[in-house]
Symmetry: C2
Subunit: 412 residues, 2 copies
């Protein structure tokens, strides 16, 4: 792993060795970031490098990942998700070009598979037999699925209120699911204690510095799939801030080794019921924690662990943040399904709602080239989908009743 | 489309022209099959042809599909699903080699996207603005999603009892969903009348001869992804019989143009509560319709429309049929998740239950190379998943209570 120089603390600036189990800064407990030797990477990796590469997953980008070449990797196909042009949807928004990257096509249905793929590789390097995290959502199912595929035990801490459907998926993957009789914060705290007590691999986002490296592959893929022509804007929903920070890191890495010749602007979108990062962005003041009142559960984070990295990503890119209501999110879900054939979960489509707003407010120009990342599959939350749409037509089994009920466009 | 000779009726043998809207036989209403000019196809398509092909979807196989080169195609990435080696699961079964093809990674979550991709292409050729089918399941969501992506209207007929979750996905895709106040058969009958009355494109499986051509691409992909080394056995769950018939056609096509040098044996698996094809296979007598009593709803077909094609596929291949209980299906779901990190819906994992049985009974040898196709994503039916697994551990938020609850393997 000679292409990785070290880890650096984003808080105190201290360097430390990139060991597989290293988490937060030994000195100040700040968040660490992987620092690459870009010159060394650039010796090997250029546009030509990818031309005949037959690795159809995020491991295409191994020379830019903090993983040893021979580390056992998840056998699941993580990454290599498709990008669609969406002219009909672009037309409705009044945009010239809209591109959609569908991260719901990952093996457990969300972008979080990218984090788990790299996280599990580091767990294998660390030699840990068990991995753990506290999460009710996509991060948990990604960890459980990829751990199972590698034959490793996963222990997932969830608050008592976690929905049964989400727990079922974790249990199918054979994870040990600990339902903590208490709040989400109590579940996190117990996971922290247990990880320390039993020596499990710590797979919590914003604590483990490698997960964001997995997430950045979404941007490396965007660059390559668009033939290195970077969009003007890239849109992500924002919860704890790790995903948009990871995406930005991917663009910075690609730029630093000369794969792309400019950087995109980032639009980060939060739900109005849980938008502390967006508030901090616009106020310029310190982040104030909020309650978590949105149906977009994957981005319902009132006290985010990684706001600084996210704020830096949006600011450095010259981008902006938007805040959208649950109603706008549900409208976006329906719009995306009807006009592009992509079914996203509420958090996954929040970006579309924010894009719409940014266009209406003139913050994004209609001639700019925009890529929207749909971060999770709608099948993860069919209940919310039910709220986004109306009722079916109910008819008696005869043509006359049917004709009376059908919309005119179908009557030919 | 000079590589397509004509359609042939599997019942009366009559040839007819392959028009985009042709459905069943004009003479006897039998099921039609597409006949290719294999010599012409083989002139262009050989192993070399695929080596540098950068089309990462089922359209890799366009020269073997009944679609014109310039027909507008679904922009969704259909096909190019991954195959995983599953050594841990193979070990439990006592098999040397088990391969898993995860069709749940298709855009709407099932193999049926392949049928809809080709079906929608034919609808575009036919110039129809609206497409229709009767289905509650994967075929409906595949049609709705791919129609939306192409900007075409879809009208889906469902029986009154169809679960709300499945309807929500159809409505998100903007389909007109007609809930028929009656049985499934009444929904089918009303769809038939309406298709005729309004001139919609008929997208019902076993009536439309092109859908099975889409399904066959799963086998073309298997052949190519395994570097043309055909497995000894290929395992599919069986409902109406169209999928296993399509898969077999893919192998026959590949063999006929010389891409592969032998054919696999097919293992078809039905649920005990709805196994008329399996019964007919083993009795050698005419098919007797059954009730539909299984939680594997995607293969709950008591009166299949395409039993002859399915029976022919299994018999011609030298394969066999198995019948599995719902309990075995739920066990298979859990086993697949725990040991391979793949979450399949009940019908999607029924094949694994059948494989297990066939191994136990010695019908498949433990040294044979087996590929299991998981036909649909477990997220489609989280309710059944809940039945397949136990409960999470419930603990108070302290380490002592946690230690008492955790399985020993996790205590380090």
């Amino acid at each position: 792993m000679r292409h990785v120089k070290h880890l650096i603390c984003l808080h105190c600036g201290r360097q430390q060795q990139a060991l597989p189990s290293t988490c937060t800064c030994a000195a100040c407990a700040g968040i660490l970031e992987v620092v690459y030797d870009y010159d060394r990477v650039a010796e090997k990796v250029n546009r030509e490098y990818f031309r005949d590469l037959r690795e159809y997953s995020l491991w295409r980008y191994l020379p830019l990942l903090p993983v040893e070449p021979h580390t056992p990797r998840t056998p699941l196909r993580v990454g290599f998700t498709p990008i669609y042009e969406a002219p009909a949807l672009a037309g409705i928004l009044g945009l010239d070009t809209l591109l959609i990257k569908d991260e719901g096509q990952n093996p457990t249905g969300s972008l979080k598979d990218r984090a788990a793929a790299v996280g599990m590789a580091k767990a294998m390097e660390a030699g840990e037999n068990a991995v753990a995290c506290a999460s009710t959502g996509n991060a948990a199912s990604a960890l459980a699925g990829n751990a199972a595929a590698l034959g490793r035990r996963a222990c997932i801490f969830v608050p008592q209120r976690a929905p049964r459907g989400k727990i079922a998926q974790l249990l199918v993957f054979g994870a040990t699911v600990v339902s903590v009789q208490g709040s989400y914060l109590e579940a996190i705290e117990l996971s922290r204690q247990a990880i320390k007590e039993y020596g499990w691999y710590n797979h919590n986002a914003a604590i483990n510095p490698y997960l964001v490296e997995g997430k950045k592959t979404v941007s490396l893929e965007i660059c390559e799939q668009l033939d290195w022509q970077v969009p003007d804007w890239v849109v992500f929903a924002v919860g704890d801030g790790c995903t948009i920070a990871g995406a930005w890191k991917g663009f910075v890495d690609a730029y630093s080794i000369g794969l792309i010749d400019r950087l995109p602007k980032m639009l980060g979108v939060q739900a109005a019921g849980s938008c502390p990062i967006s508030n901090a962005f616009h106020s310029g003041e310190a982040l104030l924690p909020m309650e978590e009142r949105t149906l977009a559960d994957s981005i319902a984070v009132g006290a985010p662990l990684n706001p600084d990295k996210a704020l830096r990503a949006v600011r450095d890119s010259g981008g902006t943040m938007a805040t959208v209501s649950d109603e706008e999110i549900l409208q976006a879900m329906s719009l995306l399904g009807r006009k592009a054939g992509v079914f996203g979960e509420p958090a996954g489509v929040a970006g579309l709602a924010g894009l719409r707003q940014a266009l209406d407010q003139g913050r994004i120009g209609r001639q700019e080239r925009v890529l929207l990342c749909v971060t999770g599959n709608g099948l993860k939350d069919v209940y919310s989908a039910g709220q986004a749409v109306g009722e079916p037509l109910s008819v008696k089994p005869n043509l006359r009743d049917l004709a009376a009920a059908l919309p005119k466009e179908l009557l030919g």
